[in-house]
Symmetry: C2
Subunit: 213 residues, 2 copies
């Protein structure tokens, strides 16, 4: 469906708690219609049946848009619903294993927190990295120490693949993110659980474009 020419600019990560009112699929659809460019499904607190069923529904909905669906951690769920890729952290399956299971066409993303991890990123295995957390967040309680935009800027100097900044990113941080050299911002609570996710997404898209022309 998609070439590897991915637009990572407004990368939505769905959160099952924050989207409880609207639901995951509805939140994703509103965001995508407003210009979100990637959707990641992440629900570690759910049992796998529920994760699989939600991922299937997201895939079905996203068929109508040129927006890739990335599954957090579960390569089996990604294979089962023919998702566009998988995002793994440092404590999930190694990227070599993920690449082997998914094949060369799918997107593999990896979370990066420090220079040691970044130095190991192999562009043959990893399509993009999520670099952070920029700030501390409540949506991922087990996250590593925040690196700030200064830390991000340093890591971007040795980053061999496209990168998204992640961790507490709001609309007013986009200018700093662009200046640090990333290709996108990953957001959770900036869209999920907001009264008007479309408007919030439009604002992120507008600011991204404004800062990258």
């Amino acid at each position: 469906m998609l070439s590897k020419n991915i637009n990572y600019s407004v990368y939505l990560i769905l959160d099952p708690v924050l989207t409880e009112n609207l639901g995951m699929v509805q939140t994703a659809q509103l965001a995508v219609q407003a210009g979100a460019t990637v959707v990641q499904f992440r629900a570690p607190q759910w049992k796998k049946r529920q994760r699989y069923e939600c991922a299937l529904s997201l895939k079905q909905m996203l068929k109508n848009y040129q927006v890739p669906l990335i599954i957090d951690d579960d390569v089996d769920v990604a294979l089962a619903c023919d998702a566009d890729g998988v995002h793994v952290g440092q404590k999930d399956l190694p990227v070599e294993v993920v690449r082997k299971l998914l094949g060369p066409e799918k997107i593999v993303g990896l979370s990066i927190n420090n220079a040691e991890q970044m130095a190991l990123v192999d562009p043959k295995m990893v399509d993009y990295v999520g670099v952070g957390p920029i700030f501390s967040t409540t949506t991922k309680p087990d996250a590593a120490a925040p690196i700030g935009f200064d830390g991000l800027k340093k890591l971007m100097q040795i980053c061999p693949v496209p990168a998204v900044a992640i961790g507490g990113i709001k609309a007013h941080h986009i200018e700093s993110a662009v200046k640090a050299g990333v290709q996108g911002v990953a957001v959770i609570s900036a869209i999920c659980g907001q009264d008007n996710p479309e408007q919030k997404t439009q604002e992120l898209v507008r600011l991204w474009k404004q800062n990258t022309i």
Copy 2:
């Protein structure tokens, strides 16, 4: 490596907490040397990297024995370490999906707690069922209500595939399990965490043989 002619009689499920002293691999090896016929790896509390690495080590060790390695829940881990099969519960991936991902040669097991679930078991999708819990246990806090040997006996009358009884099974229950019609007993704490897992396994094997001749 294995035909589908599996000996399910003494089916060991490894528990990461109970095996903390000896370790998963050492516990499994002692049990297998003493006659355990299946090893299931289950560690839902671990991150997937650790699960993957442990499953790889188990697979490596079990190569020397004609004993299949079954992975709980994680089809991706099973694929990555070329395990012999996957065991899923009712809230994990549907068995049709697991079968499709693993192919026809691998073993697919399914947990069954009641007649409604048993009636849906399709022998093309499911190689064996784990029926229970017979008793309530501490190793699986989210398990369904215990069914006892009477419940097991009733379910076995409509069971279309080989079955193992699971949930609090100890050596002195083997006679009842055999009489209920199962092809094996799945044990956790009867082996894991015991001072002498070899001896405990030998006892289970001896009692199984004694009751099935």
